[in-house]
């Protein structure tokens, strides 16, 4: 078997493709996660529907239509963001299989990013599109605030994916110090969901928690795209929010590079 007639792919495109193929090998698992995630969204929406049914008054800037749109989109965007890179890096450090990555002529972070996008396309994006599409048809979601908001929403989702990836990657690298990062991962996963505004909009938090949320990188993952979609971006405008996302990517990216260099100095791979 040869590659006669098959062109060489750029290495990171090849790794993206591998991430895609790898995820497709577990398509049943992906399909089950689509069903479970879809079901959990419906439960959350129903809880809020019950709350609004008792007293139809808007909460903060959110009436029922806006809240329904926010909750469904928050879950859809969160779904799109999900990445198992934290677990992949932690596992590779713990069992020593990181040696195979480190003996290849490829940047470690970019390799993991390329693979993560491939995996996300199967596990997250397909589910997100199904959820988003079916919700627009059956649940009559609110349309984007403007055509420009629709475009910036997509851009903010892409940038949010980058922020989320970097947070997950940093959590994975922490294994070089913690030996087992499971506890930190769980805490950050739960805290991250709340601070990202996935469970409820950040504007409904108590004042001090809002300050914490706005100071954290998590809000740049889910909350930012949704505020842009709904037109709730009065403070600084959509471009200002996107600027914050870009700043987080630059900051976390630089920190990731610094931490990776330190992690590699600490790396201890026992056994053969």
């Amino acid at each position: 078997m040869t590659t006669a007639g098959i062109a060489r792919r750029p290495k990171y495109v090849a790794l993206f493709s591998m991430g895609l193929s790898d995820a497709l090998a577990y398509r049943t698992s992906a399909a089950i996660s689509w069903v479970i995630n879809g079901w959990s969204v419906l439960i959350v929406v129903y809880v809020w529907y019950s709350l609004f049914a008792q007293d139809g008054a808007p909460v903060a800037q959110f009436d029922w239509q806006a809240m329904k749109t926010y909750l469904i989109l928050a879950h859809a965007v969160n779904w799109f963001m999900q990445s198992d890179v934290s677990w992949i890096v932690a596992d590779a450090v713990q069992n020593g299989n990181i040696v195979t990555d480190l003996t290849r002529p490829a940047d470690y972070m970019l390799s993991k990013f390329s693979q993560a996008i491939g995996g996300s396309l199967v596990n997250g994006t397909i589910g997100t599109v199904i959820l988003f599409g079916s919700s627009i048809i059956f649940l009559h979601l609110q349309a984007p605030a403007s055509p420009a908001a629709a475009g910036l929403f997509i851009l903010a989702c892409v940038l949010g994916y980058g922020v989320n990836f970097l947070i997950s990657y940093l959590m994975g690298l922490s294994t070089c110090w913690l030996t087992n990062n499971q506890g930190l991962s769980w805490v950050l996963w739960y805290a991250g969901r709340i601070l990202a505004g996935t469970v409820i909009p950040i504007s409904l938090f108590p004042g001090w928690l809002q300050t914490v949320a706005w100071a954290s990188p998590f809000q740049a993952t889910v909350s930012t795209p949704l505020l842009i979609y709904l037109g709730h971006d009065q403070q600084g405008g959509a471009l200002g929010l996107i600027g914050v996302q870009v700043a987080w990517i630059i900051g976390l990216g630089a920190f990731s590079r610094w931490l990776y260099a330190r992690a590699m100095r600490r790396l201890e791979i026992q056994g053969g």
Partner: protein, 350 residues
């Protein structure tokens, strides 16, 4: 010991690696104590290791578990960095210039696979071709050679997870050679494999070394691997090199017992006593055993030559035939592993 060859492809200088390991008491009490007042100790895995490897050499790193063999390989491939000292691969620092270095080297870890678990082997190999940016023509040529010599044909369409250990290792070796590396590091490549697969892999690696000039650095506990593939051996123990030289030299330096079996033409009742008198000047005193027509003399060849011992016994007994057992590297390595190998420079043969 050999060191510091000019034009070395691999240079290790005073290579030292220390790991910080937690020191914890046993049981729940120990775990709680460690939680609040952790205590660590430094464990030196490598201590001032210096050697050179020239292009085209095949070198075996041998030693008991924990001797520092795998740590040395990890430092050479750039996965870990030394606590002190330095290592250079064709002049490069393999840790700082990891990506450039990785194009020069191929690595096989016997206990790990570089193939993607869920993908067909052909897809994993194609992906490696992309990552190493191998020109398609060269990729096809190398894959064809590997497929023929390692009999990979039926395996290429199978997912890595469905392969047996031997099949997986053959594919892993092909994967490590696709980009035509100048140096091949093999860390226990035949561990757990059956005799036939081991033989095929040894033959292949040996051919790559002899015919293509690929430098081979091998760690293995398997003596057949070492004797088939390597011309040079680095014996390691407790993080230090205890011997570095040719296979023949290691036998000469560490073999402290030579066995000569004399088959007699007739039974000699007092053969043992007569040989003992004949060899009374041999030190340390040889061990003599008599079984039927055979008289077996075991002596230290670093002090007495085989020729001298044979001449003295033949002058004393009616010898019909004799057999001198060559020094066995297996016994030397076994002694190294169980800690009974006498280190230090042997005295000249008299």
């Amino acid at each position: 010991m050999r060191c510091c060859i000019s034009q070395a492809q691999i240079e290790a200088r005073a290579l030292t690696k220390t790991f910080r390991v937690p020191k914890r008491g046993s049981g729940v009490t120990g775990a709680i104590q460690h939680l609040f007042a952790p205590v660590y100790e430094d464990k030196r895995a490598l201590d001032q290791v210096t050697f050179d490897i020239a292009s085209g050499e095949a070198v075996a790193c041998v030693g008991p578990n924990g001797a520092g063999k795998s740590t040395t390989v990890k430092l050479m491939v750039g996965i870990t960095m030394p606590t002190s000292g330095s290592v250079r691969i064709e002049g490069l620092d393999p840790h700082k210039e990891r990506i450039t270095n990785s194009r020069k080297i191929g690595v096989v870890f016997g206990q790990r696979s570089q193939l993607w678990w869920d993908l067909p082997v052909a897809e994993s190999l194609r992906l490696l071709g992309d990552i190493y940016e191998i020109p398609p023509d060269r990729y096809d040529q190398t894959l064809k050679t590997c497929t023929e010599l390692l009999e990979l044909g039926p395996l290429l369409g199978q997912a890595s997870r469905s392969l047996s250990l031997g099949q997986r290792m053959r594919c892993d070796i092909a994967a490590s050679l696709l980009h035509s590396p100048r140096i091949l590091f093999l860390d226990e490549p035949t561990i757990g494999l059956d005799v036939a697969v081991k033989a095929r892999i040894r033959q292949f690696i040996s051919a790559m070394n002899r015919e293509r000039g690929v430098t081979v650095v091998l760690t293995s506990h398997d003596l057949q691997d070492i004797e088939t593939i390597c011309q040079r051996i680095i014996l390691m123990d407790k993080g230090a090199i205890v011997f570095d030289g040719s296979l023949l030299a290691v036998k000469r330096q560490f073999d402290r017992s030579r066995v000569v079996t004399f088959r007699l033409r007739e039974m000699v009742p007092d053969a043992a006593a007569r040989v003992q008198i004949a060899l009374s000047e041999v030190a340390p005193p040889p061990v003599i055993t008599v079984t039927g027509y055979d008289t077996v003399v075991t002596f230290d060849p670093s002090h007495s030559s085989s020729a001298a011992v044979v001449a003295k016994v033949m002058a004393e007994l009616p010898v019909e035939d004799l057999k001198i057992e060559e020094p066995g590297i297996e016994s030397i390595i076994r002694q190294l592993y169980d800690g009974t190998l006498k280190l230090g420079v042997a005295e000249p043969v008299t």
